[in-house]
């Protein structure tokens, strides 16, 4: 799933030294100068590296990358989506000699990463998200992302089998397309098991709000909802609170089964090491890096957590069967006829959007069966 665009070895291996010298910074500043073949990779995280969630998923992959010969990894955590991140990138380039940067948070792309990419044409920038566009953005930048909605679809099937009240819940940060796709996939997965299942959504308003996340979990439990999943940066509090309330949970971002030994069903996890290895290997070999790299379960970009004890045999069978279908490619969760939860038709009969469909990236509706609104 890599749409490569050629980048010459010369462009790629242009050293930080040249960049720094061009800026008139003098040589005293230069770090251990990179030997040809050696690669310094910079990772930037928006939150703490050990959040049991989004940032941890990236940091775990970075830790694996660190062990590969010839690769040096520099990391910075809790970098806000302001000019600070531009300065962090610049500092990694100028002071550490990084030639491949992974700013992992969505908000890093525009304008910060683009600004730096224009300033340092010899450095490669790859951003986690789906923003790169050949017509608009330079060739030393690019996007990579995983189709994790399929993971949430499988979560939904597990939830559909596990729920007794036919009411399941989803705690989300903000109503943005990525999140809406996850909510809808989860709800549709459950409806595959039983079309009468409803999915209650609660938005907490921000990516890391532990007290609100716990409150949201409790208010879902009070409503009789017995399976919950989420899309926030660190699902730890939600998974723990749900376990305490005797609910089932489906994980997200990383494997949270240790936090809920009884109630953890399965989870949709990132598997970024696949992507990072690919990029690093290409960079070291002087081959072009992809600019628009996507992948799902089949490509190993996304994986599912091992089944927990609450998953029935019937559930396992169905999940494995659907997963096998997904692995074949072309599988569509969002397909017509599909109505949103206000009764409007959003996908016409016969139309189908597989995970690669660009239409999914501007999703602005909640499907029928989801309780909640995106105001």
């Amino acid at each position: 799933m890599i749409d490569g665009f050629g980048i010459s070895r010369r462009r790629l291996l242009g050293t930080a030294g040249m960049g720094a010298a061009a800026l008139g910074l003098g040589t005293s500043l230069l770090p251990r100068t990179a030997r040809a073949g050696d690669l310094t990779v910079g990772f930037i995280y928006v939150g703490p590296k050990d959040d049991y969630g989004y940032n941890q998923a990236h940091a775990e992959a970075a830790a694996v990358l660190k062990t590969m010969p010839g690769i040096k990894v520099v990391e910075e955590e809790k970098v806000p989506e302001t000019d600070d991140v531009a300065k962090t990138m610049q500092s990694m380039i100028e002071l550490d000699g990084a030639t491949l940067l992974f700013p992992t948070s969505f908000g890093y792309f525009d304008p910060y990463m683009l600004k730096m990419a224009a300033k340092y044409p010899n450095v490669q920038f790859r951003h986690c998200g789906g923003m790169w566009n050949k017509a608009k953005h330079p060739m030393n930048t690019g996007s990579y992302f995983g189709y994790i909605g399929m993971g949430q679809y499988l979560n939904g099937i597990a939830a559909g089998h596990a729920t007794k009240t036919k009411k399941i819940g989803f705690i989300a940060a903000k109503p943005i397309p990525q999140v809406l796709l996850n909510i809808n996939s989860f709800a549709l997965g459950a409806k595959l098991v039983d079309p009468s299942i409803t999915t209650q959504v609660i938005f907490t308003g921000d990516w890391s709000m532990p007290v609100k996340e716990a409150e949201a979990t409790n208010s879902l439990a009070d409503q009789g909802i017995d399976v919950v999943t989420c899309h926030v940066d660190g699902p730890k509090v939600i998974v723990e609170t749900a376990e305490h309330r005797g609910m089932f949970t489906c994980g997200y971002h990383a494997n949270q089964s240790a936090l809920a030994p009884k109630g953890y069903l399965t989870g949709a996890e990132w598997n970024w090491i696949t992507v990072y290895k690919e990029f690093a290997a290409a960079a070291m070999a002087g081959k072009p890096l992809g600019n628009f790299v996507r992948g799902g379960l089949a490509e190993g970009f996304v994986k599912t957590s091992p089944f927990g004890p609450g998953v029935s045999d019937a559930s396992r069978k169905q999940i494995d069967a659907v997963k096998a279908e997904i692995m074949k490619g072309g599988f569509a969760v969002i397909k017509g006829p599909l109505k949103d939860n206000k009764g409007n038709a959003v996908v016409a009969a016969g139309a189908a959007y597989p995970e690669t469909a660009i239409e999914l990236e501007s999703m602005n509706y909640l499907v029928e069966g989801v309780i909640g609104s995106i105001s």
Partner: protein, 371 residues
Amino acid sequence: MSAASDTQRSAAAPVQTGAADRLYPLRRALEALGSPVLALLLSAICFSIFLLALGKSPADFFSLMWKGAFGSAFSLGNTLQRAAPLLLTALCVALPAQLGLTVIGGEGALVLGGLAASVAALPLDGAWPPLVQLAMAIAGAAAGAVWIGITGLLRSRRGINETVASLVLSYVGIALFNHLVEGPLRDPASLNKPSTYAIGDANMLGPLPGTGLHPGLLVGVIACVLAWILISRTSLGFAMRVTGGNLRAAQLQGLPVARLVMLACLLGGACAGLAGMIEVAAVHGRANASLVAGYGYAGILIAFLARHNPLAIIPMAVLMGGIGAAGGLLQRRMGLPDATVQVLQGFIFVAILASETLYGRFAWFQPRGAR
């Protein structure tokens, strides 16, 4: 009346010196310079002990610190970039402080200022960019002024404590900002990061010519100088300082205390709002959650470190910017957690604020011949 107003009195009240003591201003400056430097040294020593206890080398730490903050043109640029928004948010604290008010709600004023600025640019799409920028600046400053002005109004009309009111209003302001950015004012095309409509590339403030530096730096420095002139060279500033020094005396003299309170709050709020406008116009290009970056809170500390002297805000903001700029390098080279910088800042703030007690302790610095 306690420490807050005592500080005000000594810092702001005009000092009568005898003609014989021409060197007094110099000694006073030395005193003002001496105790923070002493405090910095002390906090550096304490922090070194902290590092040694953790088995890290203080020498490595401070040399990296220097390298990351001031050691090269790039580092210095990074430092100044970070200092830029803090100049204006510190003024939001320092101006009301002349009256003895402690306003800590600059964050709310900043984000609402940024929001107002981004909204003001929309109807003017296609107009002459400097005009758009002027409208944005006015809108941003006005929104900030209104927000801190509410605090001033509550203070002067209802007697509600400004520290509590501004803090609470700041939370309300941020909630309002989030609601508007993700609701009514959202650009539907801002898919995964809800934002207002972009102000357009033409309307962006470019970096300062020849330096690549944040334009807020120039605006901030100008604002600091203007604030200094207002406070120390005008009769209005004199009235503010008298009120801050002794409220009763000011009332007895017939100074319009309530109006002065409003004025200081409006001006301070305008500064914070302007900081928001500059962040939008120079950095983000639109208003979104990135604006809520804690500049308002950092400004409080800088204002106190500068003892509410607008000119002293400049070096203090640079110091803080420098520590922030070096933080990343420390993470990457020494494997120290990101919170290291925060610990160091905590040490420095505690030490510098405590050093306040040294003022006036040493006779050598005091005026002579004036009895």
